[in-house]
Amino acid sequence: MSKFRSNVKPTLAIGAALGAVLFTTIGGGPVFAEELPAGFKAGELAPAPPADMIEAGKRVYFTKCVWCHGVDGAGDGPGADRLWPRPRNFNQGTFKIRHTASGELPLFNYNERAPDSGKNDLFDTVTHGLPGSAMPPWEGILSEEQRVQVLSFVTTQLVKDRKFTDKQESQTILQMGSIKPVEANEESLKKGATLIVDKKCIECHGVEGRGDGNAFNLKDDWGFSIQPANWHKCWNFRGSRQDPYNVRNIFRTFSTGVNGTPMPSFADNTTVEERWDIANFVNSLCERDGDGKPLGIDPQTDKPKINFVVPSAPIEGEISNDPENEMWKKIGRRYIAMGGQITHKPRNFVNRIDDIWVKSLYNEKNVVYLIQWDDRTKSVAEGKLPWAPTQVNVENFGVKEQAPKTGEEGSIASAQNNYAVYNDGIAFQFPIKWQEIPAPFKPRYLWGDAKFNADILKWEADGSLRSFKGTGWDQDFEERDDFEEKAKLLKAEWKNGQWTVMISRPLKGDKDDYDEYTRFDVGKYIPMVFFAWDGHNGDAGRKMAVSAFYYTILQPPIPQEVYIYPAVIAVGVVLLEGWMLTRRANKKKGKVL
């Protein structure tokens, strides 16, 4: 295996494998350096924080952190049992995001307060939070001083099994500052695509990187089940540091591994260049817009920006059931954010579907929604479900919400992957009589209400597509067989961790009215809500993921007036110009019009 010397100049080091071999043969440098993986350099232990800083940090900890991380830092605070991933247990000194070699303590130096310096891992974690978990960014809430203080307390008082100042500890530091990145050109991406197979990344992360490989058997150091990262959602990478499309974050995680999880460090069996190729490729998989540009990230949520309108484009003739068809490829898709249903029992504190992508087309008869979402597991219930498809109150059948206080054993993190498996599902609703409800009024997002009912279409992974009338969050659905014959499931496929479901529904019922079924009028904003179930998350009934209100609109073909009026206006402006010039000329000559 090729290894870099600690004294190799970074500019030379980028030469990667070839250069490395060359320098090893020339020799020199300290002996221990032989064992350092490429790109790393031995560092020194940071000084211990002073006592007053630790004392000040205790005050920060017991105001902000204790609620999840617990009095003794064992990750067992009052909030812990309903969280997955569970809050970090500090006692063992195991931290995920680091610049240090696998198994080592992270970098923490109370003197180092510049964000993203690469010299203070824990400080950066507190500053930016851990996206995809409940750990928020504390920048702007705690001052830099306070962040350093609380870390002084955590590292000295709550990390119990190891000591940051122990001479036995080593700090082998990834030299991010001096390693030159490899450009993400076609060649690098191609190499990366091969390497993720060679290095067995896909065994856990899946063939397309949606985190669907080996999805059931992975456990962290504490025995809680853990999911491989989905490379298509870089904004959920724990180490994304609020800069999700930055390839350096991926390179770092790949080089140092994620302590306490099955994700190893690949520093020993890859060259620096290979690691860049892989990082570039992984980064290229993260969802992008139609032009291949990174999605706009909302700085307030660190998730993709949301547009609450789902437009449906007009098309003549049959609508293809192939998402790769030209008619589907040329229209844009919309990001729909999904949160847990946490309004009514049974609440879903951990929703494993946190977004879906939607496209829509319509012709003179039907409107078709193409819905795609990532789900690591294809879930189809074994045998017949004990409740009727119309039943929404399924708590008596074991679909329960997580109890608030259970201890580790009964916590939501322990329950993951041990649920009874139900059907994956997707559903959307429209108000039936939206024509009679002036905006912004709507029937309730959760299956309508007694006064204004909801028109619901629900697909389940057992292959069924059903039409329901919803009259309230706790009211069983009314099934509508006659409409089911007209609504069509054009496609339902689970492949490599992604569902693709295409649903067609008529623009209206048999009659021209809208008494029973939502009637789609061209050019009108029609409220729409999405629901999603992950069968392996024990999702059923109201235990599901839900979106906010979106609007769908059948985009009208452009009317002729749009071309005529502007031309008329332009001519009017020309006439106005003529009048002004004449007037000015006359005035100059002393005439008054």
């Binding site: 005050r59 920060v60 017991f62 105001t63 902000k64 609620w67 999840c68 605070g77 009052p78 909030g79 309903r82 409940a134 750990m135 928020p136 702007g140 809430i141 705690l142 001052s143 306070q146 949520t301 998730k303 949301i306 547009n307 609450f308 309108v309 999904m338 949160g339 847990g340 249903q341 946490i342 309004t343 029992k345 929703n351 608030p404 206080k405 905006a439 912004p440 009024f441 029937p443 309730r444 997002y445 839900v546 979106s547 906010a548 209100f549 609109i553 009208p556 452009i558 007036e561 749009v562 009026y565 502007p566 031309a567 206006i569 332009a570 001519v571 402006v573 020309v574 110009e577 000015r584």
Partner: protein
């Protein structure tokens, strides 16, 4: 004077460069952060600094002999205001509101350039020059305008007439008027007279002055007052109830309202209306404890129509918590944000 103006000019140039840098993504847009709750003041003072900077810049250019025509000063200043509103402020202001600000700033600029006869003459001179077209340059300019204006106006009207699918703007009342009383778990609470049973002094009497002394400090970080740790083994009475309220909050509420009560919880990104930010001085700090009790107990579905009950995912907490638990959570929210509940008198 000159030195002072030079400093002003420097500020103006640096500010402009930063704004341009942020627009083109050269400088990270959070270099100068807009702090929540203080944003309006921050924006006003930033604009004031810019105006001072421009004044300095103009003075300096004048003294260097390169006078900047009043005409262009007016136009560029208006363009600057529009650019600032569009790119600096986050979350973005809708176009209709920007158009309103645009009109107001247009009137202001117009008043500025027409403040006296001489200024007004200076301002309109370039326009008249073009209209009269006495020189070749002006003639060319006039011809260009004659052709461009109809094209531009026609183009704009085409774009505005073309059917678009922008998000409709819906204005929601965040704090609707409360009812006189509310019935929770079979008991009726009159909002005017009810009190939080856990806001008590060591004698067990309702005592807001006592609890006010024990809440977190209103400084950066909002940390607990020294010697008022709810997690202290010996914590009794009010502080113990705060801890119990916090436990309930972190088992139920933080999913939306966030670990720092700032409305940035795990699920918050998916919902609209977004969860309330309790650290904002415009939410619980403005309200009585009983108002919060009503809102918590009845949730989104219990809102009057102006509060959009159909869209809010706020649970009616009477379905999940006991009355005592609701009061304790409210106690915790005021403690953790360091705000005093408003009183009726």
């Amino acid at each position: 004077m000159k030195a002072l103006m030079s400093v002003g000019a420097l500020i103006g140039v640096v500010g402009l460069l930063m704004l341009i840098g942020m627009i083109f993504g050269v400088i990270p847009s959070n270099t100068v952060r807009l702090v929540e709750g203080y944003m309006p003041m921050q924006v006003l003072s930033e604009l004031a600094i810019f105006v001072a900077g421009f004044a300095g810049l103009s003075y300096l250019l004048n003294s260097m002999g390169v006078a900047f025509p009043r005409f262009w000063q007016g136009i560029l200043f208006w363009v600057f205001i529009q650019t600032y509103l569009k790119f600096r402020i986050y979350p973005p202001i809708p176009f209709s509101v920007r158009a309103m600000y645009g009109t107001v700033s247009f009137v202001a600029v117009f008043m500025w350039v027409s403040a006296n006869e001489e200024d007004w003459k200076k301002f309109r001179q370039p326009i008249l020059n073009v209209l009269d077209a006495n020189t070749g340059f002006h003639k060319a300019l006039r011809t260009m305008y004659l052709i461009l204006l109809p094209l531009l106006i026609g183009g704009f009207s085409f774009l505005s007439m073309k059917p678009s699918v922008d998000e409709p703007i819906e204005l929601r009342t965040v704090h609707p008027a409360p009812p006189a009383s509310t019935k929770v778990h079979g008991k009726t609470y009159t909002l005017q007279t009810s009190q939080n049973p856990y806001r008590v002094n060591p004698e067990g009497k309702y005592d807001q002055e006592y609890s006010n002394k024990l809440i977190v400090e209103q400084s950066m970080g909002r940390l607990m007052a020294p010697n008022a740790n709810p997690w202290d083994d010996k914590a009794q009475g009010y502080l113990k109830y705060v801890r119990e309220g916090g436990e309930i909050f972190f088992q139920n509420c933080h999913f939306c309202h966030g670990d720092n009560l700032n409305g940035r919880g795990l699920h918050a990104f998916a919902f609209n209306p977004i969860p309330a930010n309790f650290t904002d001085p415009g939410t619980i700090a403005q309200l009585q404890e009983t108002f919060i009790f009503w809102r918590v107990a009845k949730g989104g579905i219990g809102l009057p129509t102006e509060g959009f009950p159909w869209a809010s995912v706020m649970p009616p907490w009477e379905q999940h918590l006991t009355t005592d638990e609701i009061w304790k959570v409210i106690l915790f929210e005021y403690w953790h944000t360091g705000y005093y509940p408003r009183t009726w008198d």
